[in-house]
Amino acid sequence: MIALAEAQKESVGDILEEPVSASRINLFHSCRLKFYYRYVLKLIKPVNSALHVGKAVHYGLQEWSNRRWLGKPSGVEDIRESFLTHWKTSLDENPVEFLEGEEEAQRDKAWALVDMYLRETPIPMEEKPEAVEVSVEADLSEHGLPTLRGVIDLVRPGGVILDYKTAAASPNEDQVLHRNETQLTAYGLLYREATGEKESGFELHHLVKTKAPKLVVTRHKPVTDKQKSKLFRSIESYLGGVEREDWIPSPGLQCAACEFFNECRGGVL
């Protein structure tokens, strides 16, 4: 697999010309070697069950928003039917190796999260979104930076930018903004570029995968000049690191769940 990936290796010059996203920036700053495996070597790993569950939950919520937007039936049973169909078709397209009986358990776990959200969401059923799963770009060339790109989960009326998170445990509300600052700042700038208006704030809807699933909503203020400046410095740092081909790993707790653990241990660099 590594030899195959080497054949598709992307040049640093190409990467520097590509748009940047919050996920790329965050990945680079959390572990440069992981960034190298994913975006330079382009190593492809099979989808694991946790990722499949996360995507399925995301799909269910997106389907609910889209249906409300277009005036289609969006009751729990309508969403469940779409969710189950999508679960099957996405597995056909990207197979996941489940253990015996695991698929059904994971599917039920994913649906339980969506079902809980539909019951507990603060979003009124009749509310029409401004945008659902929308890709946006912002030209940052006047700042000497590449194009910024992102996909916003949902924009509520009045310019409230919403992102869905699935988490194993309840989020520490004091740390939520700190951990998501790059993403929210990027989304704020993207929204401004796309609409010519300032976002009114952010909502993070955390779907917590506890035994009894629960929803935690955290609300955050619009992007400040300081946050914007921090994002630009972070992008500059990213560009400098990629240009230097600085692929130094950052060993830590996150390695336990890293899909490139074996490559890292084996020193594929």
Partner: protein, 158 residues
């Protein structure tokens, strides 16, 4: 390859004592493909016709007491200028054209999604949402997805 459109509007109006006054305005604009020619021609004609008529009717601003001309004001969304990006405008028109979609249906969809049937009023965020839905209904396989590769699919709001 960019295509250049040259548009000219010329008008002459009668004046007292058998006089007349005429005004000719010519502008050039570029489009990236033939699909955009009709739309751009229409936009230029409306712009030039309005400007020439206003000049001849004497309704445009004249130099102020300080001798300075007023600054140009960018076109508003109510004119023929799209608020969406050129790429988005081209894609929307292309989907309509290539699939033989009734423009009225697209305007109805826009009304349902954004409470306006005027496609030119859609900002980049809204245009992106409309394009997604048009592709879902009439075009390629949906670009909606949650994987990084599936999300962008070469199409964004710019």
């Amino acid at each position: 390859m960019a295509l250049t459109i040259t548009a000219t509007v010329s008008k002459k109006v009668g004046k007292p004592n058998y006089g007349s006054e005429g005004f000719t305005l010519t502008v050039q604009s570029e489009v990236s493909n033939m699909d955009q020619v009709r739309e751009e021609s229409h936009r230029l004609y409306l712009l030039l016709n309005e400007s020439v008529t206003q000049e001849l009717e004497g309704s445009t601003d004249t130099p102020s007491k300080t001798g300075e001309w007023p600054k140009l004001v960018p076109a508003t969304p109510t004119s023929r200028v799209w608020r969406a990006s050129d790429k988005q405008r081209d894609l929307i028109l292309k989907i309509i054209d290539e699939n033989g979609v009734d423009r009225g249906d697209v305007e109805s969809l826009s009304l349902e999604m954004f409470s306006t049937s005027n496609l030119q009023e859609l900002n980049r965020l809204q245009a992106s949402g409309l394009i997604d839905e048009l592709l879902q209904r009439y075009g390629k396989k949906s670009t909606r997805g949650t994987t990084p590769s599936g999300r962008f699919n070469g199409r964004t709001t710019r």
